[in-house]
Each structure stands twice: as C-alpha cells, then as structure tokens.
Symmetry: D2
C-alpha cells in the first residue's frame, strides 16, 4: 500500500458516493477532518501547479444556474453525454477562448502539424487532471490530434473555465469539471474519468498528484497497463519521489516541474513581467522614481529588480546569501539591511522563501502609503498575522488591496493579504503556459513510445535529447550552422525552437 | 465679441433652459447640429485634458437610480444644498478614494502644510471646470486649505466619479457634476457654478475651455474682477492663443499644458509605463522575446521602446526624421521600413502623429495573431476604416479588444479600435496627475498674487522662477550645495522637489 | 576694421616674418604679450573644436629630427614642393591611417561616390584650418573628390599627425602643418595657405576662427570672392556672431557647432562611451558594484550615468535644476546632496559646467582610493587648486593619474589634474568625427551652390532641408514608407542616413 | 611515481643545472623537445591562471641591464640576499604599485586587520608559484601578516613585474622571479624556492601545477609535512584530479578555480567590462548603433551582450543550445544564423568554446571594415589558419590589430590574431583579482587549520561554510536581519562581504 507518500493530501470528512477499497484508506482520508460544505474546502492552490490558475480569474461565470452539473442531463451536438460540465451551451464562447490561446501557443500547433501523418500517440489513452483553461484545452486537443484518446478532470475546484470545459465536451472529449466543485464533486469527477466501462487509461497526466493518488487508492490494477505518469507540480513530484524512495512507484514517472525551461519561466521571466502587472493593476502606481526594496535576490528577485529598475524605480536589495548579494552588487543594486531603509521605501517586495522577512516592527516603521507585497514561495514572508490586532484598522479598498490603518492615521497598503502577488493579482501569459504544455506533450510522447526497459519504475527528468522514436523525419533547424544539424534534429529542441518562433 | 476663437467648440442643437445673450451666439452654438438625446453626444475627450479621464474608468456606478440629479433635493450633513451630485450619500466611499489619492500627491499635501499660516489664496474665489476625480478633489481641497473659495463643475459629461463629487459636496464645496450628464446638463452645471448670488469668481481654472467660453458668452462682466485664467488642455490653450491674437483676451492666462514637466510626463515617462499596462491588461501578452515594431521615435516612441526593450522584447523602429532615426540607432534599435518587417512582427505600435502609418496592405500582410495598437496623437494612425469592409469579420473578444478575421482565418488583434491605447486601456498614475495639479495650484497662486501689471492680457507659461509673493519664507532646499540656495528658494522649485519626495 | 570681435584671440609677442597691414592690427596682436619660446605658448585646445585632438594623442612622433620643417626642402613624388610638413617620407604610414579612418566614415565615402559625376564643388577653392588627423584627411580628400581645390593648415600647434600631413602632401594637397609648431610657425602656416600666387580662396573652412581672423587682418580683399565661411568651434562661432552683431561680417557663415547632430554626439553619445574608456585606461577600475556619484544630469551627465549604470555601478546624482533632477529621479537614480554621500563614494564625476562643484572640504572627506574626475565643460569643476597645498603630497603614478596623499596616508586618485577626462584620457571615435565632417562638407556644398541672395552676411545653421542644387537625382531612401519620399530626397538626410549605415 | 598525470606539461630540451631523480623523469621532461634559447619557449599562458597576466602588460621594463639576475649579487637594505630579482633597487616603484593595488583589495586588507591578534597562519611555511604582480604581492603580504613564512616564484616566464618582485624582496620575502626568464631559469627559481636549508614548506600555493610537479619529481619527501595544496588554474586542477584518480595524490588539495565567485567573475562580470575595453583600446570603435553578432550565449556571451546592448549596439546572437537560445530570446536578442547576418555586421565576437565558429567562407562574406575577435575559451573559434593564404595580405596596423586585405581591397580587422581578446587587449581589474586572492587565502587558512582527518587525500572545493577554527570571534555582519546572524558569522562569508565593501 503506497499510502505513506500521500499523507500530505488534504482529505475529506465524508465522501458519500465513493467507496474506498479498504479501511486503511478510509482512515487516511479522514485524517484531516474538515467541516462539511463548500466553504470549508481547504484545497490549496499550492498543491497543483499554479501556472494556469490565475488567468482563469479574469473569467466570470455569470450564470445564475444553481443546479449541480451532476444533476443535469446534457448532450452535445454529436449526441454524446459522456461528460459533466456546467453548461454545454457555453461551448461557442469557450471555443473562441481556445482559439485566442492557440495564437500564442505556436509550439503545440507546430507539433500538431508535424505529427499529423505519424500520430505518435496513436493508441494512447490518457487520463488527465489539470486546471481546465483555454491553454490546457489547446494541449488536450493537441494530444488528440497526435492520436490519443483523452478523458479529463480538474485539479482544482475553483480554476475551471466552464466555457472551455463546455467547448471540449462539445468536440467529444469527456470532461468532468466545473468551477466551484465541492470536495465530493472533486473526487466524483476524478472517479468518472478513470472508472469508465470499456476504456482503460495507459497514460496519466497529473497536476498535484490527486489523480495519481486516486488511482493508487481505488484502481491499483490500472497501473498494469499504464506506461507512465507525467506530473507537473511541486507537490505531485514530491509525492512521486516519496513513492519511489519507498519502492512503491510501479510505473515510470516524468518530472516536468523541474525542467529547466519551466524553472526559468516560472521565476525569472515570468516575475519580471508579473511584478509590474500585479502592482499596476492593484495600485496604479507610477514606477518611475519610486524607492523600492526587494528582499531576496534569487531568480524571482532578479526578475522583479530587472523590471523595476528598467522602469525607473530606485531599487535596493536585502540578501543574506553572499553569492546572491555579490550578484546584486555587480548588477548595480545597493545591498542594504531592511531596517536601515524601511522608513524611506515606497514599495516593499518579498521574494525570499523565508518566514517573517517583513516583521511587525518594520511594518510599524513604514511611511504612510507604503505598498507591501509578496512574490516569494510562501504566504508568511510578511508577518500579516501580526497586523490582525485590535489597534489596527483594516480597510478593503479594492479587490486584493487592503489599507492597514495605524492609530495615527498612517496607512500601509497590503496586497493580496500577503499571498503571492503574481498568482493573485496578475495573469500568466499564454506563452509561458505554452512552454509547460509543450513539455508535457513531449513527456507523454517520450514515455509512450520509449522502448521497454528504457525507463524503470523511477522519477525522470525529460531527457535533453529525446529518442528518435517520433517526429524524427525532416527537421532541418540549425540555429547556428550546418555542423550541428544532428544535434538539433530532435523534437524537444525542435519544439522549444517552435516556442521561440524561430521559424 | 470674442466668439471667433471658439468656432471649434462642439455645440448643442437645443439648449432649453439657457438663454443666450444675443442671436449671434445662438447661431454659433447651433453651427454643429447634433442629434438630440444622450447617445448623440459627441463631446470628445480630446478637447479637455485627458490625464485624469481614464483613471475614472475603473470606477463603476452601480446605482440604478434613474432620477436626474437636477430633480433631486439633496442636503449635506452641514445643511447645505448648494451642489448637485448624483447621490450625496456616496460621500464616504468618495472620501476614501480621495484619501488614497492623497498618498501619491505629496507635493500638494506639502503645499497645504507650508501655506497654512500664510493662506496665499485668501480672498480667491475660484470657479473650476475639470474632470472630477479623486485627484482633482485633492487639488480642490488644497486650494481651499490655501484660503480659496471654490465652485466646481465637470469638463466632461462622462468622467465624473460620483462618489468623489459627493465627498466634495459633503465637505461644503459647491459641486455640480455627475457621470452621464446630457449636454443640457453640462451647460446647466457650468451656469450654476458661475451664476450664483452673492459670489463672484475672481479666478478661473479651466480644462478644455468650455467654462471660459461660457463666461465670455453669458457673463462677460465677470472678467472685470477675474485676475486670471489657468488652462490645462491643448484645445483650451489653443483657444486662448486665438483670443489673444484677436486682441480679445481680457485677462492674463496661464498655459499649463506646455509646461516642461507636463510634456515629459505625458509623453516619455507616462508612455513608458502605459504601453506595458495597456498591452498586458488587454492581451496578457508576454513581452519577453516578442518581435515589436514601434512606428515613430519621438518622446512617446522613446518611452514605449525603453519599456519593451527592458522587458526582453526585440524592438525595431520606423522613423522618417533622420535625427530621431539617429537617436534610435544610437540607442540600439534597428531602424527599418515597416513593409520590410511587417510579416515577422508580433506587435505593431504607432506613435507618429501621422495618418495611415499602418495601411490596409500592411494589415493584410501581418501574421496570424499580430497585435496592433496606437499610442500616438490621433485616431487615424492605423487605417482602421479600411478594416470595416465586408470580407473581414470583426469579433469583439474583450472590452477594447477586437479580432479582425481574414477570409483565410488569420486574425489581427486590434486594440481600442485604433484609438489611444494609453487612454483607453490603462490608467494614469496619481503621481502624474499630482505633477499637473501642483502646477495648476502654483499657477493660480502666481496669478492671484502677482503685482498689478506683471501679467498683461496675454497667455503665459509658468515662469521657471516665480515671484516671492508667497511661500518665500524659509525654504532651505538645496539639492546640490549651499551656493545655490537662492536659486532654490522659490516655490515652484520647492514644489517640484516635493513632488519628487526629496524630503 | 572688424577687429573688435577678435579681442579674445591669444596673440603673439613677436611675429618676425609677417607684416601686418597696419598699425592698429599690430597693436591688437600684441595686446596679450606672452613670453617668447615654445613653452610659453598658451594656445588652448578649448578654442578650436576638440573633437579630433585627443585621437591624435595615440600617435607618437618618434622622429628625432630637430630641423624645422620651414628650413627643409621637400618634394613629393609628383615633383611638387607646395607644402610644408615634418617629413614627406612618412606618407605611406599616414596613408594607412587614412584608410583605417575611411572604414568608419561611410557617410563621406558615400558622398564621394554619389557626387562623382556631378562635382558639386567644381570651382571651389577651399582654404582650411583644422586639426590635421586621419579623419580630417578623409574630409579633405572627399572635398577634392567633389571637385574642390584645397589648401590646408592646422588649427592647433600640437594636434597635427605628421604622417597624415605627409600623406596629404604626397597626393598633392598643399598642407602646411606639423606637430609642435611655434606660434610664429602657426601664423606662418596660415599665411602660406592663404597667400599664394595665382590662387585665391573662395571658401573658408575654419575651426577656432584663427584662419578667419588672419584673412580679416591681412587679406580683407579676399572676402570679395569668398562665398562663405564654415565654422566648427564654439569659440569661432562666438566670434562670428560678434562680427555679425557689429555689422562687420562680410560673407555668409555656417555654424556647424550648433547642429543638432554635433550636440547629441559630442555630449550624450560620446560621453556614454568615453567615461568608461577614460576611467578604464587610467585606473583599470572594475565598474560593477562601484558607488559612483555624478554631479550634474545634463546631456553629459545622462551619458555617463547610462553607461555606468549599465555596467553595474551604483550611481547617484547631484543636480540643482529641478527639471533635470526630476529626470534623474524618473530614470531611476537617487538624487542626493554631494556632502551626504561623499564618504561612501568610489568615484566622483563632475559634469555641471559650474565652478568648484567638488570642494576641498569634500575632497578631505573622501575615502581612501576615491577616484575624482571631470567630464564637464571647464577645468575648475574640481577645486584642484586647493589641493596644491603643502600638507598634501602629489604623486604621479601614471600618465594623467595623480595620487593626492593626505597626511594620514589617505590617497585620492585625481585624473587629468581635473581637466576634461574625455579629451585627456580617451579617444574620440572616428564615427563621431565622421558625423561632424559630413556636416562640414554639406555646409560647404550648400554655401558654394546656394543661389545669390539666399544667404546674407549672417551666421546660419545648416538648414534641415537643403536645396536641390546638388545631389538631387535619385536618392530613394525612405525610411518609413513611400509617402515620405519627397521629404527624404535631400542630401542632408541622405548623408545622415549614410552615416547611420541604413544602406 | 605519479608522473602520468603530468604528461601534459611542456618540458625542456636541456636542463643543465638540475639533476632529475631518475631516468624516467628525464625521459618525460624531454618528451616535447623545444629549440634551445629564449624565443623557442612555448609556455602558454593557458596553463597557469590567466587573471593576473595581462595587467602586467602595462608595465615595461626599460632596464637595459642584460646581466642575468642569477649572476648578480644583490642584498636588500636589511642585509638579506635570499632572493633573486632583476634589480632590488626598483623596490620603491614596486612598493607604490602594491599600495595602489591595495586600494581595490579591501577584502585582503580586512582579513589582515581582523587576524592580527590571532595569526591563523602562524607556523605555516608556504611555498608559492604564481604570477608576480602587485595584486599577488598584496596576497603574499597578507599571508605574512597572518603569521605565515613565504617563499615565492613565478608561474610564467613573462608575467613578473620586476619592480614588485624587488619590493617583496626588499621587505624580506624570498622571491625568485624576473620578467623574461629562460626555461632553465624557470625551474631554477622553483628549485631555489623549495630547496633551501633549514626551511621546509608545509603548504603549497600553485597556479598551473608546475611547482607541485617539481616537488613530486624532485622532493617527494616534502609531502610528508605538507598539509595541503591550493591550486588556482584549470590546468593545475585538472592534473590534481588526474593524480587523485590515479591514487597518487598524497595530500589534500583545494580547487580554487571552480569556486562560484571565480566562475562568475572570470566570465559574466569580467567579460561585461573587458569586451568594451578590449574593443575600444584596439579599434577606438564607437559602440552606439553598431551591428554586432555574438556567437554563443553562455556566461561570457551574456556578459558581452549586456554591455554592448547597454551602449547602444544592435546585438544579435547565434546559439545552438536551445536553452541558451531561449534565454537570449527572452533577454531581447534576435537569435539568428551567422550566415544570414554576416554581411551586415560591423563586429563579430565568438564566445562558444567550439572550433571554427567563424569560417573562411564567412570571413569572405564580411563587409569592409568588419571587426572580428574572440572572447571564448580557445584560439580556434575563428578559423584564422584559413586566412594565412597567399591571396590575402596581412597588415599589422597596431599592436594586436591586423588588417586582412582581400584582393578587391576589402579589409577585415582581426584582433589578437584570434586569441582571447580579454587576455590580450584589456586589463583585469584588481577587484577581480582580489576575489580570487581572498579565496586563495581562505583556502590556505582552512587547510592549515583543519582538524586532522577532515580533508583526505583528495581535491576539494572550498566549503561554503568553513569551520570556526579561525576568525570566529566577533563578526556581526548580518546583511538582512538578525535572525541569520549565525549563518553569517563565518569568515568566508565575511570576507566576501568585505570584498563587496558592505562595511
């Protein structure tokens, strides 16, 4: 029983319609009791990949329909009812969103075109559990174009774009997802994906590990046919490594989360843009001439500093690692102690990954109007808890923007209550999601086509050079000169190049 | 009769409650007949200053109250009913908006503090006509703090933030303005401002020239007591110069529009931020790695290029002026012909001030997904008219975002229908408005306090060194060293320094 | 007698071989007595244009030949002896230097090619007085290629590259110049240029005004045939304006010094490079991480700051003009008082144009090893005089580098004794000189070909659009699009474009 | 016999005064016969660390003294003659150079001060073999200040600054080195360092492995007392790893070459400055507006591109690794094929580490005046060999600058004959050398003080956290906040911080 690896999974108090395989499972699933009902859900975004979530935020579901999708009978125009979405009639709107997304996902589109004759995923039966957004839809439809059959569900109860789910269902992809699922709904959807008559998955694409968990718990026999798992999130990858360490991983798994492209994109390049976007959308601040302190000069901090400096902010850094401090210094930033400069700052940004980097005492010393926000990895970099005390008044002035008012009238502007600004207050560009989605598609192709024995029951990073089992024909991309043709004639390189629009 | 200078003023078909002084006026006012009713209004934002407009866009008036403010009887908590706003009860919300704005308008706040004892505007009776936003409210309340009495109205029928108007009215400033005025309302409000018993304006603060126009038409005798006009907009300033040329300007006027700070801010520094903001909010595009062509390398183009380059876009320039082309080249941008590069571009931005810089033929050659937008001075830089033809399909995908679809399925993404992106799709930072508002306040102080004869009946730029008639006492700001004390001991310098938060 | 305008000219105590036209002249010429002999010469570089001087610095004249060129009989390979240079045998070396220079002066080369059939300077007899460097040689040979006859002399007694003078003389251009002329030599050379049998100049190209001065004094009748003067330097232009004001300017003059290209190049673009070059060559300093204060944020300061910031220096600014301070702030630099930061700085750079910007008291407070240098317009921005006091020790550690040692052992590193770093310690790129030289050539073409009456006896700036009298044929350069063809079909634009290598 | 590891060592044809331990050694030493005499020496700079070499280039030994130092009898002012330098009388000049260097080596100076009471190297007898420059002298004198006895020799026959060697000898450090040693001299000097009566080294500081080699060959018994080797160069480290692999390394060794600070400094930060410096000193090129292609976007390429872009060059990249290409793209550079752009380029720079990145065919297609240079790791990135063919003319125009002239007159400007530009044509800042020297000092301290058994007979990287055996007392540096005090209270961190001048 590989349950040990999953102890971190938030579980359900009561799961009505699902029968667990045995008592032990049930025990574990009730280890973290939560109050029943929708509001008690504590599924954190941090468990699944966070890329695609926030972009969903801009879509609102104006429907007043309170009927649960599970209670509705819906049929798409092809007569199929093998799906469960909010409203199949929203398909057209969703289709347009997908088409918009396609425009900045050229790598996937290229992959579709190149593989049309070859169908490297012919025979693949993929069960997927991800955020359901326009960008994921482009991925799913690419997998279908490459020959795969797909069934899909959501990895987060809030992040589904209903219209997109409808559009997928309309074209025949069995999708089970809607925005605002209950926890019971959540597991029911996963179960419907996996447990269907006459169809058994041989590939798993997961984001957060819940689908994998469910299959382990409920349908362990499925793994007999599964050729591999592709996992996207930090949490899911962590679980897979635990399983592997415990000797309980029974199929090869591909760790997409730690691929170099994802790391660079999620941190340096993405934050370079989202810090500006997040601050602007919430505060309309002018960057030019503003005094900014960035705590931490890792990849995230580097991204933030580059952007703010370029727009005329006067940026200084706090950093405890001397190598990073050295880099900050050589990049032209003053390295300071936070307490030395806190009084002068217009904006304070944390990107350290540490706890209580900004303390109550420092918040007390900030000047009136100072903006405080967090771009780091946790929600505790700013000691927000210390601000929830009687002498301070909180005033919600806009969505994601609170004024904390001191007795003397001083206001500190706190964004997203100290949670990640880039997830809460800005969108993730489709192009970034495209990089990840392409990597996922390639990982699926690689695992599905790999000769027996190449991958053991272990967790792998995507090989920099993938086998020639697919797409090997006539890629002639040579970026530098003809001598390196061979090196470049491989699909991973090819697709990255696509992503870069070198063609 | 100074009517000649005003021939460019859009006028009303029917003005019921206002009686013109004579027939000639009436004739002129009906020269540009418009259809009756609200939707036919053509008051263009371009006539008044455009700074403050767009930031109003983020506020929505959710009130369903259809009663005209003119038909309501409202009283503030002090018992006064000398105002006309949408709903006096919204004052509290508006007050908070004003307080938020104060945080990035430190120059005005400093001015308030410094002048508290002195009251350089004691005795001033200012009638004002501007956008009514939180930022203007900070200006108005600063004028009051400096000793002035103010009456205020809106320079644009759409740009009033009702809550802010309510907050001003609540504190006792007679405000006549609401969002969605009819043209009749518009002039009625102006009239109520000017024409009140027992109070006669001796200063005018205008934005667009409509207030000035009205006084010229209806109450020319007011000018006997008026010490000066401060005008903010291109259009208004243009009219003043025409009046002056025609010998019909009867008081001194201060041209705030052409002050160097305003020029730099409205163009270089503002566009540097708003190009990113506008593109991001409308398209969620990732800037890194995108091929961008910027047409025109004036101040606006320089701002756009600086920002986009800094965020990793690959920027090239088209420019016909060789000096500007030289600068582009020396700044590291490829100078190209638009037709040479149009096929490769991901984004096309116009900032030339010319017509049809992007032609239909070039639009035809753009690649799928290309984004086209305008940051220049007119609405005709992109030949949008040519896109309204039967073979092309327009699809509105978001607010301010249209897909133009070619018969072969190619989509071009057109922002704001070719109108100014920075006005339509991004906000103007409070800090920028603060610079302008401070300049307006100083211009009022200067004109009101100037010894007789210093200013003739002409249009002036704010003197770089203002007289010591006010605020002259103990400013000890010396940025560089003590030798220049004298130079710096002047309020204009002081206030700009305030704006920069040097203290 | 237009002598009044020339009172600022340093003059000679004794001029043996030259006979003045009248007594009055003589009087003026002896107004500023100097000691006889070579070392007493006070001809300041600041009087002539300074562009080309320093690049000459890298060439050393290893010749030990002490014989005065005036006493040598030299003949070139074509049998001509109408020249006076150090050593005609150095022609080959000089030719190579000219060829190297040609490679970065494409605008002139293009001008040569375009005008080959047309010869717009056919009939022009140009007498020139400039620095004699490889770059000037390219200009002279271009003028010859365009049809002109030229006679040339040096505007500075030290700046001649002997080898280049030899190369010019070898190809038949009568050159009278060598490195290390005496004052007597200086005027003798000018005289030999102007005063030659059977040849009378009809155009003057001057740099510093000495040639013009000489013609006014000695050969006023020459002006009857001269169609115009082209003047390059601040000093020379100043004199021309004085003449014009006094009604004594008897031919049209073109002010090349104030052309926009020259201003931008001499300041912003040039200093952006020369600050790095000058600091590196003298001190080998690493820029990354260094604390730098730049005094003054005009064009020169902007150039310095841009470069240093880009290389990782941490730059702050002192500035007394609030508009410039505003720009510094918006560009992301801390605006400070010098005395506040002086203790922390690694490098102090002056670019203000003011006196004693860095005082002795501030020098006293600098830290050990602080580098101090001047990029501004005068030699007095740093109070170097105050350092010449007994308690301080001066130690010359390298060329242009002095250590000033305080009693406690602290050393301050003073560059070029406070003179202009960019002139003393770095070279001026050929490309920059190319811009100026092209402008000079175009000014000559314009003045020589202008229809009678277009230019009066006044000082002109080069018209942005020049007449079509020359080079008008088939320039089809249109940078932006075809609609502006007409605007671009003019040679000035064309040549600038050439300079930019748009082709 | 650990000789196998040293087969790559260039050896001598004839070594007169040195007796090898056995025949095998001799055989190996004569494996690579070279012609006798000075000019035949082929000791490549690439074998020892290259940091300090080029800065020595700026010093010239004007002495005409042809007597070999080995034949001179010299005594310093303290009566000691245990040294061998060119001229002990040059000590004063050398002392000043050392003092200049001290000014940018604050980390070492701090180390001196902190350790004065403690003497962490008391008892250490260090034999060193490095470039002998002012910067090394600061290191040596720091080691002495920390309690060590030192004997020193040069790792390169050309790189010794004679004056500095004299200054060291004058203060009592036995130095055996001069500029222009013969190979025989070279080994003689090493031998004199190691083999001295009454003194036996217990630490080795080597740069290139020759000293280590010599001890292995001649005095293997010395290793009984040696506590460790600190090695700086790629070559030396390579040899140590070979020894270790072969089981022949008999003491712990510290690999300084691969410390993160050295890597970042030698590549990114250093090249960012040296590309500008090297191009400027050799060609006086103006960077603004120049078309530049940089081949390779690793750390070196990133440094070059950053600097050139910042100065207004228009930079594009060739890159075959898609991850690096992705980075280039996201950083705003066009990624191109070299052959596509070669015709337009003004400058071509290689930084790939590959062979023949620039081929003859591409050289043939370059435009007139194109500058070609190499910043990469080998001398073969540009196919210079192909240029040594009869139809092309080579012209040496300046030191390190050749014009290659094609039959049609086209010139290509080749720098440093394709060798490393940064070593040949620019200096290495003292600050960079300071980082390395500090690391060396810390490695010596660590190895000398480590408890027995901590380090085995293996090659180590400097631990990020060093033991508290020294300097542990009162370092209170906390860059960020007090919580991390413990982490920062270690000397390595401390010294790096010193290097950064955080204090």
């Amino acid at each position: 029983m590989p349950s040990a690896a999953f102890t971190a999974v938030p579980t359900l108090k009561s799961v009505k319609k699902i029968q667990f395989a045995n008592t032990e499972d049930k025990q574990e699933f009730t280890k973290y009791p939560t109050k029943a009902g929708r509001r008690s859900l504590s599924r954190s975004i941090s468990q699944s990949s966070t890329d695609s979530y926030s972009s969903a935020a801009s879509y609102t579901d104006s429907s007043d329909d309170e009927t649960s999708p599970r209670d509705k009978a819906q049929v798409n125009t092809h007569g199929s009812s093998d799906f469960c979405v909010k409203n199949i009639k929203q398909a057209e709107f969703g289709r347009r969103e997908i088409e918009i997304a396609e425009q900045d996902m050229s790598a996937l589109i290229s992959l579709r075109k190149r593989a049309q004759g070859e169908k490297p995923l012919a025979g693949a039966k993929i069960v997927g559990c991800t955020h359901i957004t326009a960008q994921t839809a482009v991925l799913i439809e690419t997998l279908v174009a490459l020959g795969a059959q797909c069934r899909w569900t959501a990895c987060n109860i809030y992040s589904t774009q209903n219209e997109v789910a409808a559009a997928l269902a309309e074209t025949g992809v069995p999708v089970f997802a809607w925005k605002g699922e209950s926890e019971d709904d959540f597991w029911w959807c996963i179960d419907r994906c996996v447990n269907t008559e006459g169809w058994q998955a041989n590939m798993i694409l997961d984001d957060g590990g819940d689908l994998t968990h469910w299959v382990y718990k409920k349908y362990p026999s499925v793994f007999k046919k599964v050729r591999g798992i592709v996992e996207e999130s930090v949490t899911g990858v962590h679980r897979l490594y635990q399983l592997s360490k415990a000797g309980k991983l029974c199929v090869p798994a591909m760790n997409v989360n730690d691929s170099v492209t994802k790391q660079k994109f999620d941190n340096l390049y993405c934050c370079r843009e989202s810090i500006l976007d997040g601050l602007k959308r919430t505060t309309d601040i002018m960057f030019g001439g503003k005094q900014v302190v960035v705590c931490g000069y890792g990849e995230v901090g580097k991204g933030c500093c580059t952007a703010l400096k370029a727009l005329g902010a006067i940026v200084c850094i706090t950093e405890i690692d001397p190598i990073c401090a050295l880099q900050a210094c050589m990049d032209g930033f003053r390295v300071v102690k936070l307490s030395e400069v806190i009084r002068q700052m217009d904006v304070v940004i944390t990107c350290t990954g540490n706890k209580n980097v900004v303390t109550r005492e420092q918040l007390d010393r900030m000047k009136n109007g100072c903006i405080v926000c967090n771009m780091g990895h946790s929600n505790t970099e700013i000691d927000v808890a210390s601000l929830r005390s009687p002498e301070l008044t909180w005033e919600r002035v806009r969505s994601q923007v609170d004024h904390i008012i001191w007795p003397d009238g001083k206001r500190v502007v706190l964004l997203a209550e100290g949670r990640l600004l880039n997830l809460s207050c800005s969108t993730v560009p489709t192009f970034v999601l495209s990089i990840t989605a392409t990597t996922q598609a390639l990982a699926l192709i690689e695992l599905f086509n790999a000769p027996e024995g190449r991958y053991k029951q272990d967790v792998y990073l995507l090989p920099k050079k993938m086998g020639k089992s697919c797409l090997h024909r006539n890629c002639s991309l040579t970026l530098n000169d003809d001598k390196n043709e061979q090196f470049m004639k491989i699909p991973f390189m090819f697709c990255l190049s696509m992503a870069l629009r070198f063609y």
